[in-house]
């Protein structure tokens, strides 16, 4: 009886996590006619999925070619704007930075993409606000960037347009297992039956793996970004360098992140704060160095986001052997740009048991079989011991 009721409010596929990976997966499944339900603890795309740099240039990845193939089509496929813009420019302020920019370009080259080296004069023609401190750069005729906030909503809306459902403000509290399978997902808004479960819960993915008795080593961290007031549009908005990632938006804002991260613990399922630190000043300095012609531009916003990393920084995307109806997907902090391709891959793992366009062998969980439980301490990736502030005096 209970199981029947759960089934009534369940779905063929229940996705835990309304971030960019879960939403893209849900959209691909819904397009294929699969009955899909996304469970999200807050609002769709509210965490790192909707607050990142928007880069879409990851040709090194097994998902990279599919990423490049899909992005130019996404607006049309989704029916909503993603603000996708093609091409990237890398600016170097030193020989070392130039070597890194070249290395990125060459990886594209080996995959068959075109790129060229820019001297300072060419760089200034393309990006008038670079300074004399730039020594050169790269122009990639591949890659690009999109607006994360608009894109996550586009996935969510596209999913609904194809008959999928999203349950926001539903925190997942448990996974019901029976006969070697996960049969239902328990939430603060009821229990939802499922034939297949996808866990794409960002920093919380590890906690769900734990519930299944699977050790998925993940270290959460906080990273920060800044945004300026709009300035006139450059010919190419995908301009970065000097240890910054980011872009000029189609509105004209310069939106950049980079620099040191803070390893933290995510204690529970609550929506975390998105607090900043004085690092925003260092980010401002790096941006003014990268684009000295914009040094006078006003900073109007900063924010932070929480991301998770595996020990090698690579994703875990795998359909588990047991329970055999569960797919785990964490992109190890690099999920937005790859999301069109990853969503497709996960939807194929759900439907066919394997990804049809790429070999995901390198992303299997098995590579962490020997990772000790205290790996974060060994790597220096543990959160700082909680700094308990001295209790203030007072008598009221």
């Amino acid at each position: 009886m209970m199981a029947d009721m759960a089934r009534a409010s369940g779905a063929s596929v229940v996705i835990v996590g309304g971030g960019v990976t879960g939403l893209s997966t849900g959209w691909w499944l819904a397009r294929a006619g699969v009955d899909v339900l996304v469970l999200e603890k807050g609002i769709v795309g509210w965490e790192a999925s909707g607050r990142n740099g928007g880069g879409a240039t990851h040709v090194y990845s097994p998902f990279g070619l599919e990423e490049q193939r899909l992005w130019p089509q996404m607006d049309e496929l989704l029916g909503y704007p993603t603000e996708y813009q093609p091409h990237r420019i890398g600016i170097a302020l030193s020989e070392t930075q130039l070597a890194l920019a070249r290395r990125w370009a060459e990886i594209g080259g080996t995959r068959g993409f075109r790129w060229e080296l820019l001297d300072r004069r060419q760089l200034k023609e393309l990006v008038p606000i670079v300074g004399d401190n730039a020594i050169g750069g790269t122009y990639l005729h591949f890659g690009g960037h999109a607006n994360p906030q608009r894109t996550v909503q586009a996935y969510a809306w596209g999913l609904q347009d194809n008959g999928g459902r999203i349950q926001q403000h539903a925190t997942v509290t448990g996974l019901t297992q029976r006969g070697g399978r996960v049969t239902a997902v328990q939430t603060t808004r009821g229990t939802f039956g499922a034939d297949t479960v996808v866990i794409a819960a960002g920093p919380q993915t590890g906690a769900f793996a734990d519930m299944l008795g699977i050790c998925l080593p993940l270290a959460p961290a906080r990273v920060e970004m800044i945004a300026t007031e709009p300035i006139p549009l450059m010919r190419v908005g995908g301009v970065a360098g000097n240890g910054l990632y980011g872009r000029q938006t189609l509105r004209g804002n310069l939106v950049y992140g980079g620099g040191p991260h803070e390893w933290i613990n995510v204690p529970d399922m609550a929506t975390p704060e998105h607090a900043n630190t004085p690092l925003v000043r260092n980010l401002a300095r790096r941006l003014a160095e990268l684009l000295p012609g914009a040094a006078h531009v006003r900073l109007i916003r900063a924010w932070s986001g929480l991301v998770e990393n595996t020990p090698d920084g690579l994703p875990v995307v795998e359909r588990l052997a047991r329970p055999d109806n569960v797919v785990i997907a964490t992109m190890s902090s690099v999920g937005f740009g790859l999301s069109p391709a990853v969503g497709r891959a996960v939807s194929e793992l759900v439907r066919f048991g394997r990804c049809q366009f790429a070999d995901l062998g390198a992303l299997a969980l098995g590579r962490f079989a020997d990772t000790p439980r205290d790996w974060r301490e060994h790597a220096g990736w543990a959160a700082a011991p909680s700094a308990v502030e001295a209790a203030a005096g007072g008598d009221d």
């Binding site: 030193s94 290395r103 730039a134 933290i264 607090a275 690092l279 160095e289 902090s333 990736w381």
Partner: protein, 543 residues
């Protein structure tokens, strides 16, 4: 010994050059009283105030809505500093009491350790003047940041001349730099009457007081003094539009409204004026309190979101106190500046005692909330204005000036016009369809429409966006979650915010993303790491 990741932030957030026992933000009545009280109890106090604000900031309607009606004298910093000191005699008293008074200083951020930040060496404020920024550590913080203006849009409100009561008062009484001769005041409550009186005192003509309500909301005797001096009061009226050539307001068109706020055809009248001043209420400045994690609650009769405070003005964060209009503004406060001072003294004394000073005098009784007629009084009044403006001016009016988002585009959750995006799917989406997914969230709709994302940091549109969303959702503003505030809470240039120097580790170990060598390695050449350069990457600029 814990291993550390050299690319992490551990150890790179260095302590500020100066850390003081107590910082008071805001040198209004409450802030000065707090600072003096604490100083007299023997505490080292820094009192910070952003006035005089520089011209460029004022031009963005930050921190108050000045409506481009500043005269050229605001560019004279020395003169403005003189006037700020001269018009606030309390500042001299604070200085004499030993308070370190820092004027012309913006507080643009507050940084504290919390659930996702553990590496700060102490709690600190981000400060700046018009040339540089710095950090100031504190043991105790008293926020006395006052209140800001509430503006509602009408056709033509983008023109120079749309002010708020706070901006007008600052230009009239503090800066003596109002570049307007004939003003129309919107709102007949104590704030509207006060604004009109102040204008008359300073030799500005008041072309009318407009009230959507059928009665004068403020004191009748005070209103009569104004009408006796020839100020017309237009009851049951709203603003249809502002007109003028070359981007200036040169007149406004008023229209009489029915009880339900709908305009009465043929009742339009045009009134010559060069300024329109919104004086229907003020909103407590809770940005810093939000950033330090103080608990806020929505109290309509206090202007919206206000901090929870104890009788001694302590917030839910034990080291942070709040006093004055930032703890709640209602029109009765205009006649009772002693309440703000008493709150300031309470906060100053409580902060001092929490730092170990001897127990002071008994606390004074004070009462900020007078018994309200109804719980949502203030916002119902604002909503009546908004409804009348929509009825008279329509839906094609910008709600967000910075990003040029109209009321219609907001409630239809349209992507910004510059994307030129059209699709049947998009046309089917709106605030109404979003409501099916859950309660409306102003930050979510901001991301979609960009309303509130401009350089004024939503100072001109935050309330009206919220009210429009509440209207569309057939609910009240208290049901819309507080939209977040983020640093910098003042829009400051990169080359002001940047630090003059950085710890070597910050510079040498900087990477764009974690610095995990295998993270971006080509999957087809396993083990070929792409290490982001760090210590070797000496930057041209720093050489």
């Amino acid at each position: 010994m814990r291993e550390t990741d050299p690319r992490s932030i551990a150890g790179k957030l260095t302590p500020p050059d100066r850390r003081v026992p107590l910082v008071v933000v805001g040198a209004g009545a409450a802030g000065v009283a707090a600072a003096i009280e604490a100083a007299r109890a023997g505490v080292e106090v820094v009192l910070i105030d952003e006035h005089p604000v520089d011209n460029d900031m004022m031009a963005m309607d930050v921190p108050l809505c000045f409506g481009q009606r500043m005269d050229g004298s605001v560019r004279n910093r020395a003169l403005m500093l003189e006037r700020v000191v001269e018009t606030n005699p309390d500042l001299a008293a604070a200085h004499e009491a030993g308070v370190d008074v820092q004027l012309g200083t913006y507080v643009w951020g507050a940084f504290v350790n919390g659930p996702t930040v553990q590496e700060l060496p102490c709690s600190m404020l981000g400060l700046a003047d018009d040339r540089r920024s710095w950090l100031l550590g504190y043991d105790r913080l008293i926020v006395a940041a006052g209140a800001r203006d509430v503006l509602l849009g009408f056709p033509g409100w983008e023109r120079a001349g749309t002010l708020g009561a706070g901006g007008a008062a600052a230009l009239l009484a503090r800066y003596r730099a109002l570049a307007a001769r004939r003003v129309v005041v919107l709102g007949s409550g104590a704030l509207g009457l006060h604004t009109a009186s102040l204008a008359l005192e300073r030799g500005i003509e008041v072309a009318g007081i407009v009230e959507v309500d059928a009665r004068v909301r403020g004191d009748a005797a005070r209103a009569k003094t104004l009408t006796d001096r020839g100020v017309p009061v237009f009851l049951s009226h709203t603003l249809q539009s502002a007109r003028g050539r070359t981007g200036e307001i040169e007149s406004v068109v008023l229209v009489a409204v029915n009880r339900d706020g709908t305009p009465i055809a043929g009742s339009e009248r045009e009134i010559a004026c060069d300024a329109v001043c919104w004086a229907i209420g003020l909103v407590p400045n809770v940005e810093l309190l939000h950033l330090v994690g103080a608990r806020l609650r929505f109290v309509s009769q206090l202007g919206g979101w206000v901090p929870e405070v104890t009788a001694r003005m302590r917030t839910s964060v034990p080291t942070v106190f709040a006093a004055g209009d930032c703890t709640g503004f209602h029109e009765g406060m205009l006649a009772a500046p002693d309440v703000a001072r008493a709150e300031g003294r309470s906060a100053g004394r409580a902060a001092a005692e929490s730092l170990g000073a001897a127990r002071g005098r008994e606390d004074e009784t004070r009462r900020r909330v007078s018994a309200p007629p109804t719980a949502d009084e203030t916002h119902r009044y604002w909503r009546a204005w908004l409804d009348s403006l929509i009825a008279a001016g329509g839906w094609e009016v910008n709600v967000c000036q910075c990003e040029e988002v109209t009321r219609r585009e907001l409630v239809e959750t349209k992507p910004p016009r510059y994307l030129g995006w059209q699709s049947p799917q998009m046309s089917a989406r709106s605030v109404t369809t979003l409501l099916r997914d859950g309660p409306l969230n102003q930050d979510q709709i901001k991301r979609l429409t960009r309303a509130g994302m401009g350089p004024c940091q939503s100072r001109r549109c935050r309330e009206q966006v919220g009210l429009l969303l509440a209207r569309a959702a057939n609910t009240t503003l208290d049901r819309i979650p507080l939209p977040t505030f983020r640093p910098p809470i003042r829009p400051l240039p990169l080359n002001v915010l940047w630090p003059a120097d950085e710890p070597a580790a910050m510079r040498e170990e900087w990477v764009s993303w974690f610095g995990i060598p295998t993270q971006f390695s080509p999957h087809w050449t396993a083990g070929m790491a792409i290490d982001e350069p760090t210590a070797h990457a000496r930057l041209i600029v720093s050489e």
